[in-house]
């Protein structure tokens, strides 16, 4: 989140807004999309939709996660609170540790772990925010550069064919469509490149096993 803190300050966020984004959105892809598009002065609807799509992975993540995490929970409404605590880290830790614990302990573990993560993330965001403008300019630029490098490498580890295709087609289409429309190019990239990759992935799969 340090990289996000730097990016947020560079994009014109106040410290409170940067911290609010970390704690409230609680999903780095969407936060980066928000900072980038806010800085570019895109239309509100385009920004909100891009943030949403950037974090759309939370849907399948929550679906895979909550039946296990909510086992034995009497008030199902609590699931809506637990869902807000899901991030890539807390989700992975919950899935790894949760099944070995009894229902209530699962939730205790998950909520405590998420609280620690959110605390650390807020500290990281603040550190990145203050580093920008305090540390020498090249270091600040390095912290901002952390954002694209980190996600590029996380994504480079993808081995599912359709998802890998989506990443490759998206990476090529993104800058091009940005030139066509700085406001809507990003969303168009997701919809066009994403559906194309999904479709290609299904075709490959159908051919794959027996050929």
């Amino acid at each position: 989140m340090t990289g996000f803190g730097s990016l947020a300050r560079e994009s014109g966020f106040s410290l409170a807004a940067a911290l609010g984004a970390t704690a409230g959105i609680w999903g780095l892809p969407g936060q980066i999309a928000l900072a980038e598009l806010y800085a570019s002065g895109s239309e509100t609807l385009a920004v909100v939709m891009a943030v949403s799509l950037a974090n759309a992975r939370f849907l399948p993540m929550a679906v895979a996660f909550l039946p296990m995490m909510g086992a034995g929970l009497r008030r199902r409404a609590w699931l809506f609170a637990l869902a807000q605590l899901i991030s890539v880290n807390t989700w992975a830790a919950g899935l790894r540790v949760g099944p070995a614990l009894a229902g209530p302990d699962r939730r205790r573990y998950f909520v405590s772990f998420a609280a620690v993560c959110i605390g650390a993330a807020l500290l990281g965001t603040a550190a990145g925010f203050f580093a920008t403008g305090t540390l020498p300019r090249p270091v600040t630029l390095g912290l901002i550069f952390l954002n694209p490098v980190f996600f590029a490498l996380i994504f480079a580890d993808t081995r599912i064919p359709a998802t890998a295709l989506a990443l490759m087609i998206g990476a090529v289409t993104g800058p091009l469509l940005h030139l066509v429309s700085p406001d809507w190019g990003l969303l168009a990239t997701g919809l066009l490149a994403g559906s194309a990759a999904f479709w290609l992935g299904r075709k490959l799969k159908r051919k794959g096993p027996d050929s």
């Binding site: 014109g12 999309a33 939370f58 020498p136 630029l141």
Partner: protein, 116 residues
């Protein structure tokens, strides 16, 4: 334009727009297979958009990164990938290399060692 709305209303909308997926996840959980086609499609669209954003931030940055020439950004990104694959897909060494290379290049340019 976002400028007219201000950061706080926009932030609240962004938080709500992220929460929509979480809430939908609660409503659909236990009723749908997380490996199913619909979710794969959602993942593809999301990842394609993020890859587009990352590529755009590298090739056509808006803010501070635009101070560094394209060559620096590409070299640093290339080194990050090289180390990542050389170290059996470990993210941390790759990221550290990429960021360090980028800082060194920026510092060298600031010191006038590389021109431009």
């Amino acid at each position: 334009m976002t400028g007219t709305l201000g950061i706080w209303p926009l932030l609240l909308l962004a938080i709500a727009a992220t929460y929509v997926w979480r809430a939908l996840g609660v409503l659909l959980s236990a009723r749908m297979n997380p490996e199913g086609a619909v979710f794969q499609c959602v993942t593809c669209v999301s990842y394609a958009m993020l890859a587009g954003l990352i590529a755009r931030m590298t090739v056509l940055p808006l803010g501070g990164l635009a101070e560094a020439p394209l060559a620096d950004r590409l070299i640093a990104m290339g080194l990050a990938f090289a180390v990542f694959f050389a170290r059996r897909r470990k993210v941390l060494p790759g990221v550290a290399t990429g960021v360090a290379a980028f800082i060194l290049l920026a510092a060298a340019r600031q010191a006038g060692l590389l021109g431009g």
